[in-house]
């Protein structure tokens, strides 16, 4: 197995399949025309390419360039790695051909770098396999993450007719100007989405505020003081973390129905923080434990009371942690679906997630649903990308809440 003339062709063949499939999916999704990877031909072309790339070790050897160009051009004949449908525009065909040739050359040169033709050492062999897996991994993960979001955004810009006609055609006609965003204008104009956005926003902010207010003292007490039942307490926090929401939602639904809190924002604002306090408490106490006690003790020696120490020393020191916790709690509250779905019936009081659920009916066109999804996603994504460092920290500290 560990021979250059075997490893090269095998990796080449597999890589050709990966590249051809990627090219076909990318081109299909962006033009809507027919592209089909031909697995058998891919394997043949890839084997050939692999053989050439291990035989001619020079990075841009003429034979290497030749075989890449050849397999790219072969797509024009119908015997290439990708079969291109007849109605495809010249532009798309050219992009496919050149793309496959260039990407194939660069990636094969990278994968089979320093892979001799004959006997391979264990290192050379495993390095080549790892480079292949890495390339595949990047393509695979990027594709599975991007495709749903791409479909979400593009569908929201299409019309119902166009969608049914060719579900693959995501090309956007830029000439229609602002009419492109008609789903969005309709949502804001006819479906009250502006108010949902605002409700979601202030409910989330209130949740963050109340959660921090409750969990900072609690977390400090758990982290710093010794008292009876401390261990049991920190365990029960984790345990509460594990109670499924649907189990709680049922009695809460009954209680809220009986007391008239159902269908009110007040009820939602009362219930959200309680679901997030255990998470926040758990995250914060971990952070507080990591802070040096000496600073606080110095404050105590200088005559500050405990509460003053928390206010003047601990809190300023833990601002980054507070930011992470706030962001994480904001995300939970913004994305919360189950409670909003069960407790809110009145369309004037919906949160954004509840509003989007309303759009999921057969009478409302799909692009409206997707536009709603985009509206719900964009704010949290913008926040996330802007404060990515805090968020990742918050997520890792926030344990594994799903």
């Amino acid at each position: 197995m560990r021979k250059g003339y075997i490893t090269g062709p095998v990796l080449g063949a597999l890589w050709m399949v990966v590249i051809a499939t990627t090219a076909a999916i990318t081109m299909s999704f962006s033009t809507g025309d027919a592209f089909r990877p031909q697995v058998l031909l891919c394997l043949i072309w890839g084997t050939l390419a692999g053989l050439v790339y291990v035989r001619f070790p020079q990075q841009h050897a003429r034979a290497r360039l030749g075989i890449s160009a050849l397999l790219g051009l072969s797509c024009l004949t119908g015997f290439g790695p990708v079969l291109i449908g007849s109605g495809t525009s010249l532009q798309a065909v050219l992009i496919t051909v050149i793309g496959i040739a260039v990407v194939m050359h660069l990636s094969m040169a990278a994968i089979l770098k320093e892979t001799p033709f004959g006997e391979l050492t264990r290192h050379e062999y495993e390095d080549a396999v790892i480079r292949f897996c890495t390339g595949f991994g990047y393509i695979f993960f990027t594709a599975i993450v991007i495709i749903p979001f791409y479909v979400m955004v593009m569908t929201s810009l299409k019309s119902q007719q166009a969608l049914l006609q060719n579900p693959l055609d995501f090309s956007v006609d830029l000439s229609q100007g602002t009419a492109l965003f008609r789903s969005y204008t309709e949502l804001f104009r006819d479906f009250n989405f502006g108010s949902y956005l605002w409700t979601s926003f202030y409910v989330s902010v209130l949740t963050v505020f109340i959660t921090v207010l409750f969990s900072v003292p609690g977390a400090y007490a758990v982290a710093r003081f010794r008292f009876q039942g401390q261990k049991a307490f920190s365990r029960s926090i984790l345990l509460i973390y594990m109670v499924p929401m649907i189990v709680l939602a049922l009695p809460i639904y009954i209680a809220f129905s009986l007391t008239g809190l159902r269908n009110s924002i007040l009820g939602i604002v009362m219930i959200y923080p309680v679901t997030t306090i255990p998470v926040a408490l758990y995250m914060l106490q971990g952070y507080f434990r990591g802070l040096p006690t000496e600073v606080e003790e110095a404050g105590l020696m200088d005559g500050l009371s405990r509460l003053a120490v928390i206010w003047k020393i601990t809190l300023p020191l833990s601002l980054p942690a507070l930011a992470s916790v706030s962001l994480y709690v904001f995300m939970i509250a913004w994305n919360e679906f189950l409670l909003a779905f069960m407790l809110l019936d009145d369309p004037s009081k919906f949160t954004l997630t509840r509003g989007v659920t309303m759009l999921n009916s057969s009478e409302i066109p799909r692009q409206h649903l997707m536009a709603g999804a985009v509206i719900a996603t964009v704010p949290i994504m913008a926040l996330f990308l802007g404060l990515e460092r805090f968020m990742t920290k918050g997520l890792t500290a926030g344990s594994v809440k799903g």
Binding site: I146, L164, L168, L281, A373
Partner: protein, 411 residues
């Protein structure tokens, strides 16, 4: 002379600290127990009761008052009925004050007494669907139309309450019998286990691969890390509906792609066929939660001492050997903690399946079953019984978890 002894018991300072600690914890403890402990007890209570969605609106007497007739034949009419068709209400009374200027004439029927202008009727028990009508012949001084408004404007007082299913002390095992009855329960359990086990393992393996990819520094690493977290950060509602749209049998892009590539001759109903739907929701679960495992595993990887790998390099270890013999043993702790936690949370997952399939096509897990029983069949008691079953499983899991975590100081 007393000799110095070490202090025993709790000192004043320690007591004060404990008191402060309790004061600081009090708000959290109170609010959390109100919203977590209380509902948990409530759900155990309800699970033993035949409680349905309609019991949320308990039966009550409903009364309408009107002034009828004309000229000499004027009468005030009270129409009383039981709002429920089946359940009897006890202690039903009606009391009203006749407005000034209205004078009753003639006799008043049996359950009612009139003292001056005060009317009081005692009906005792009102059966389900029973209606009562009381006529009081009256004369009025002045315009009957004006009095009509006066009479109908005043609300008569009614009392009476039906049996409250929630607060009485009758318990039955009917809900549990219903839940465990038949093959349905075992089907649900099997679906839950499949979903949980494969969802957890899949997310862990994918997370491990993603972490291996990103465990080196290069330009744009932060960006790609952020990108790979998207599925987890986006609202579940947005991504679930996107998946439904993407895999729609009629207008879904995935089906169009499959047909075009010749992998399938006709569109596949991904979320509507057994057993494909179950596989799809599991795949969705993996897709949505691999970022989380990825983040944790990556954090652990980056904290592994690099000198170990250097030593392995010196000894000539190959990349695979380094992975199997160094990385994996180092990651075993976090992997097992992650497995346990994710297992529990996947077991608890409700939103994803509910939004993707609504529990149809063989994807009904225990949590979806709670909703299904309580709201679709509107039998809250049965839903509560399923919830109690979930709690039992949970207690068993957390027992394992705490035994393990105290040994495995991870997280």
């Amino acid at each position: 002379m007393s000799s110095a002894t070490p202090p025993n018991g709790t000192g004043a300072l320690a007591k004060r600290e404990a008191r402060l600690a309790r004061a600081l914890l009090a708000p959290t403890v109170i609010s959390v127990s109100l919203v977590v402990i209380l509902p948990l007890l409530a759900i155990i209570w309800i699970s033993f009761k035949p409680f349905t969605l309609s019991d949320l609106r308990p039966p009550a007497p409903v009364v309408r008052e009107s002034l009828r007739g004309s000229g000499d034949d004027l009468r005030i009419e009270y129409r009383l009925r039981n709002s429920s068709q089946e359940i009897a209400i006890g202690g039903v009374t009606l009391s009203d004050v006749l407005p000034e200027g209205v004078t009753p004439t003639g006799e008043i029927a049996a359950p009612c007494v009139l003292e001056g202008q005060d009317l009081f009727c005692d009906f005792g028990i009102l059966d389900g669907g029973q209606r009562e009508r009381i006529r009081i012949p009256v004369t009025v001084d002045g315009d009957p139309d004006a009095f009509e408004e006066l009479v109908e404007g005043s609300e008569p007082g009614v009392t009476g309450s039906g049996p409250n299913v929630l607060t009485n002390f009758e318990f039955s095992l009917e809900n549990y019998a219903r839940v465990f009855d038949g093959s349905e329960f075992w089907g649900v359990l099997w679906v839950t286990l499949f979903y949980t086990v494969f969802g957890t393992i899949g997310a862990l393996v994918m997370g491990l691969f993603a972490a291996l990819l990103l465990n080196k520094s290069f330009r744009g690493q932060g960006f790609i890390r952020g990108l790979y977290l998207f599925p987890y950060v986006a609202p579940v509602i947005a991504v679930a509906f996107t998946w439904v749209t993407l895999f729609d049998p009629f207008s879904g892009s995935a089906n169009a792609l499959l047909v075009q590539m010749g992998l399938s001759s006709e569109p596949i109903n991904f979320f509507g066929e057994r057993p494909l739907a179950l596989i799809m929701v599991t795949v969705f679960e993996i897709w949505r939660y691999f970022p989380l495992s990825f983040l944790f595993i990556l954090a652990r990887m980056q904290s592994i001492d690099s000198s170990m790998y250097e030593a392995a390099d010196m000894d000539g270890a190959s990349p695979f050997q380094k992975f199997w013999l160094l990385s994996i043993p180092q990651l075993l702790g976090i992997l097992s903690v992650l497995f346990l936690l994710r297992f529990i949370w996947t077991f608890n997952k409700f939103d994803d399946i509910f939004l993707l399939t609504g529990g149809n096509a063989g994807t009904r897990t225990l949590t979806v079953n709670v909703y299904e029983q309580a709201f679709a069949i509107s039998n809250i008691g049965a839903g509560a019984a399923v919830a109690v079953v979930i709690l039992m499983c949970l207690i068993a899991f957390s027992f394992v978890f705490f035994r393990f975590i105290s040994r495995e100081e991870g997280l």
